[in-house]
Symmetry: C2
Subunit: 140 residues, 2 copies
């Protein structure tokens, strides 16, 4: 397991609302603990990063690569209709990328997921199963 | 002015709701005609692209580069608190990247802009002024 880069600390709200899934080269990959949508978070392990353009060009390219790898895995595992990708940070400024599987008729479709209703945590066994499916899809 | 790549046609809903601003190497850059938020769109000129991972790795890197260049220009021109970046496509599947300037107290802050209320077109002179400011910020 790669050690967290010096000085990087995960925002406590991200830590509370999501489950650690895997460390990639740049990002910590996490699963939002909200069973309404299959929803992953990529958090670049860079202290103080808020906007994507705060990252070095190399880190930006890494983030793009990791986001797309995760997005493809999520689409494969869920068979979803559409992937939603976003870096918002209006509530939690620590830079984090949302990668969400969307389907017609899911909660608030075709509107966005943010700010809609309340988080519904997974049953532990469902969370473990989903984490394992994503880990397998990302393993060589 | 670079010609549009063969086979690429802008979705008519994007055409209707936004104003052409500039052609970049990969993307057509447009301004959403909605004065509630300073809101730009980048549309990769690639026929049939729906997900970012549909693009070649080189195009993905170009999209990242252009998105961040535009995002920095928008932040400089508006002095906004936070940039929101997203590729959703639940309504219009043609791949397009949103780059939006957000501020505390703006409509629906800190929630997302999509699906909130109705579009409020600019007065023509304000639209021209904003288009020119972004063009200048992106010119060498």
């Amino acid at each position: 397991m790669p050690a967290a880069p010096a000085g990087f600390e995960l925002d406590p709200r991200i830590e509370r609302d999501s489950q650690q899934l895997m460390w990639l080269g740049l990002c910590e990959l996490r699963l939002m603990d909200d069973k309404r949508w299959p929803w992953l978070l990529l958090v670049p392990q860079r202290p103080g990063a808020v906007e994507i353009h705060d990252l070095t060009p190399l880190d930006q390219t890494m983030l793009t690569f990791e986001t797309n790898m995760v997005s493809q895995a999520l689409k494969r595992v869920t068979g979803c209709l559409k992937i939603n990708i976003a870096a918002l940070g209006n509530v939690v400024p620590q830079l984090h990328m949302h990668v969400i599987a969307r389907n017609e008729g899911d909660p608030n479709w075709p509107g966005p997921v943010w700010g809609h209703g309340h988080r519904e945590p997974y049953r532990r066994e469902d969370l473990h199963q989903f984490v394992n499916a994503i880990r397998s899809a990302l393993s060589p």
